[in-house]
């Protein structure tokens, strides 16, 4: 910048030059880009979360209601021994009560299929009712019992009454024929025009055209349509009557033997339906006859079907039958394990962190310990499970799949989290507070207990609750110590009894083949997530409450 072009006395920065303006524009653009990246990141995270919750709720909401039928059961006092109510034949009572709704139904098979509409657990429900209310014996009581799983799914619209008869690859074969324009309807029957050779070799000396192997001729001829097809599934396309049809034709015209002819062969039922109606459906094979639909519809019409909220999900123990399975065993197992975990990891974690932060001499051993604790926080949880298996179960001989052992393994996992969080909280207490306390004549441990720890409590509690929430959802270590027991009753819950935990329950249900467990698994996941949210809210609340004293 020479003096000639400058009008100002001193060389000041030119804020309005093109270069300056370009810089400003670039700066604004960079700001906007940064904002955009931030919003894009948050938006993506929110979208993914939204997808997660939507799929979960969509898959699981059906499990939160149960289809039940109102059953009027007569508690026959002659059949029930008041001294031993449990031993009575409630299964028969329930069956009789239900069959009485359909007095027209006769025959053993029909009656059996009818009673299969009710859940197998209906008898136990009535039994438990009788045990709880012995004064009702001799009366006609109305109890709501769940229907069995297929009908529960049917009523909720999850499974259909009819399903596609043909799989997609079969439909593909059919479409090949359609493409070649050989399909037509004759006399109400779908037929396919097949070109085949009436092989004289198939016509025997004795019997002649009557006894010829027409099926074989058909197989050979039909195969020409599907030369590239490796399997023989195309044979299903033709009706079993096709051989008869061919036989009729050849017998009527025996001179066709040895010639290549075109013949219309009838299609099998499913393909016939495909041709004439456009779709082939069969009854859902979970139901044995159409009568079952009629009976169920009758119950619906009579207003006996209701869908109350599934409290059983929380209060029942596990079961083979999805309509009866609940989370009571899993919830109590998880609760006990978490309790043990908290009681072990909270004091040990805080004491360790306090010692490392305040009292430990600053030498290499302390550094080594610190590094190792930080690394422990990153160890995969399944390793802790192996440790529990090898040490607690094998060496110490502790009971397998007990919440005590589960809690100990979880405590090992949670300890590093608590220690790291506590150290950070202790570091955040300003040194002026410690100096003030020391200046007044407090000893080191008095400074810790009376001043530093109370101020560090919000951070410590937050870290603890986050660690516990993590422990609640850990599956791998619990699986390895066997906390995956099938707990059918809530009577034997204890620290040293075999137990189930919430994440392992989800794992176990996800493996089950019954359709009803699909929605129940998602419902259990929703319950687990609900608890995690609650625990995090508790952490936020506790933090706020302690922080306001600052």
């Amino acid at each position: 910048m020479t003096d000639i072009s400058q009008t100002q006395p001193a060389a000041t920065h030119d804020w309005t030059s093109a270069a300056a303006r370009r810089r400003v524009r670039r700066r604004y653009a960079a700001d906007r880009r940064l904002q955009f990246y931030g919003i894009a990141a948050i938006g993506t995270a929110m979208a993914l979360l939204g997808v997660l919750f939507t799929t979960l709720i969509y898959a699981g909401y059906a499990a939160f209601t149960t289809t039940k039928v109102e059953l009027g059961v007569f508690l026959d006092p002659e059949k029930i021994d008041k001294g031993n109510i449990r031993s009575a034949n409630f299964r028969k009572m329930v069956r009789d009560a239900f069959l009485s709704y359909f007095p027209d139904v006769q025959g053993r098979t029909d009656k059996r299929n009818l009673s299969k509409i009710l859940s197998s657990g209906a008898a136990y429900i009535v039994r438990d009712y009788a045990v709880r209310n012995p004064d009702k014996i001799g009366e006609l009581v109305t109890i709501s019992v769940p229907v069995s799983d297929p009908f529960d799914q049917l009523y909720k619209g999850i499974i259909p009454r009819e399903i596609q008869a043909l799989s997609s690859d079969r439909i593909l074969l059919y479409e090949q024929l359609e493409h070649r324009d050989v399909l037509s309807v004759q006399g109400g029957v779908g037929v396919v025009k097949t070109t085949l050779f009436v092989d004289p070799a198939q016509v025997p000396e004795e019997g002649g055209v009557e006894a010829a192997d027409y099926q074989r001729m058909i197989n050979e001829g039909f195969r020409s349509f599907f030369l590239s097809e490796p399997s023989l599934s195309y044979r299903e396309i033709l009706s079993p009557n096709a051989a008869e049809a061919l036989k009729k034709k050849v017998v009527a015209n025996p001179e066709l033997v040895g010639k290549t002819i075109e013949v219309d062969l009838p299609l099998s039922a499913n393909y016939d339906n495909l041709l004439q109606k456009g779709e082939a459906k069969i009854r859902n094979p979970r139901f044995r006859s159409d009568k079952e639909f009629a009976w169920f519809d009758s119950l619906i019409q009579r207003g006996l079907i209701s869908t109350p909220f599934t409290w059983e999900l929380f209060f029942n123990a596990d079961s083979r039958f999805p309509e009866l399975a609940g989370l009571a065993g899993a919830l109590s197992g998880s609760f006990l394990a978490l309790l043990v975990c908290f009681l072990l990891s909270f004091p040990i974690g805080i004491a360790t962190a306090t010692y490392l932060e305040e009292f430990a001499p600053k030498n290499r051993i302390t550094d080594l310990i610190e590094v190792n604790i930080n690394n422990l926080a990153a160890v995969p949880s399944v390793v802790f499970g192996l440790l529990g298996l090898a040490l607690f179960l094998n060496t110490f001989g502790m009971p397998r799949s007990a919440p005590l052992v589960g809690g100990m393994v979880l405590a090992l996992m949670t300890l590093p989290t608590i220690i790291v969080a506590t150290r950070a909280a202790l570091k955040s207490v300003p040194p002026s507070i410690r100096e003030a306390a020391l200046g007044v004549g407090a000893s080191k441990h008095q400074v810790m207990l009376h001043h530093v720890l109370p101020l560090a409590m919000p951070g410590i509690l937050t870290g603890t609750i986050i660690g516990l929430a993590q422990a609640l959802g850990e599956t791998a270590p619990l699986l390895l110590i066997g906390m995956n027991a099938f707990i059918p009753s809530v009577e034997n819950i204890g620290l040293t009894q075999p137990a189930m935990a919430l994440p392992t329950q989800i794992f176990s249900w996800a493996d089950s083949p019954e359709r009803g467990f699909v929605s129940r698994t998602s419902a259990a996941i929703i319950v687990l997530l609900g608890f995690l949210v609650l625990m995090n809210l508790l952490a936020v609340y506790l933090r706020r409450r302690f922080e306001k004293k600052w």
Binding site: K362, P430, S432, I433, R434, E435, A436, A437, L438, G439, V440, G441, A442, S443, Q446, H450, H451, L455, K549, W550
Partner: protein, 276 residues
């Protein structure tokens, strides 16, 4: 350089370290050859100082000269820093405070400290003052404790302003009030000596004036040592002044004499503003 004139206290020049210091009769605190090391770095070189009782002694000097370090030796606060090491001897009332058998916690109850930035505990005003007496078991029951708290707050000049809200958080007070609360906290443990490390540097002039007034009242019953950057403050409140320079205690004498007629050249340069 020996100056022949005699004042109330005689002047002694010790030849090895060229320190000019006056002899004090019946001193409360005596220091002999105090050296402080932070790791390998030496912060104080052979400080010899006698602090008189029932008077305010101020320690002045440029930043980093070691006056705060010396102050913290008197109540052994340097021990809270792991790399700090103190050699030499300090006696309070002829008792060696670095004696290993001495309980340092009790020492800190007898030697109170007020810090540069007011640091009340995040508890109520009452709790702030009551904490010290409680942990040292100075009072027997609740009424005694309440009386002690009230007395301390009154002596600190704060009672009138807080008596209606004594259970509210101490951190809710203004800066000057907080510092007076810290003074009340320090005197609640019934100390003989109060150490103040630049107590007014974070306060506005009005609060400063109040705290200085307080100091002059308190020195009738306590021995007070203050570190200050403000020479005007030293002149206002203290009877004796010690000038520190890069780890050495250079000159010590009556405040009037130090400020009007400093003997050592370094003192002269500092007092008359040629460096600060």
């Amino acid at each position: 350089m020996v100056k022949g004139s005699l004042t109330m206290d005689q002047q002694v020049v010790s030849p090895e370290t060229t320190t000019i210091r006056s002899v004090v009769e019946n001193p409360k605190i005596t220091s002999k050859d105090i050296c402080v090391f932070y790791g390998d770095k030496q912060a104080l070189f052979d400080v010899n100082l006698d602090i008189p009782r029932f008077a305010v002694t101020s320690l002045i000097g440029p930043s980093g000269c070691g006056k705060s370090t010396y102050l913290r030796c008197i109540n052994r606060m340097n021990e809270t820093i792991p790399i700090a090491r103190v050699t030499g001897e300090i006696k309070i009332d002829d008792q060696d405070i670095y004696d290993p058998d001495l309980d340092v916690v009790e020492l800190r109850a007898r030697v109170g400290m007020v810090f540069q930035k007011p640091n009340p505990f995040p508890k109520s005003i009452f709790e702030n003052v009551a904490y010290g007496p409680r942990i040292h078991g100075l009072v027997k029951d609740k009424t005694d404790l309440e009386e002690l708290v009230a007395t301390s707050l009154e002596r600190a000049g704060l009672w009138g302003e807080v008596k209606d809200r004594i259970h509210e958080p101490g951190t809710g007070l203004s800066g000057g009030q907080q510092q007076r609360l810290c003074i009340a906290r320090a005197i609640a443990t019934k100390p003989d000596i109060i150490l103040m490390d630049e107590p007014c540097s974070a306060l506005d002039p009005i609060a400063t004036a109040k705290v200085e007034e307080l100091m002059m009242e308190l020195c009738e019953n306590y021995t007070i040592v203050i570190v200050t950057h403000s020479m005007a403050q030293a002149q206002r409140v203290s009877q004796k002044t010690a000038f520190f320079h890069i780890g050495y205690m250079v000159e010590y004498g009556d405040t009037k004499q130090i400020f009007e007629d400093p003997q050592d050249k370094r003192t002269q340069d500092y007092i008359f503003g040629r460096f600060g």
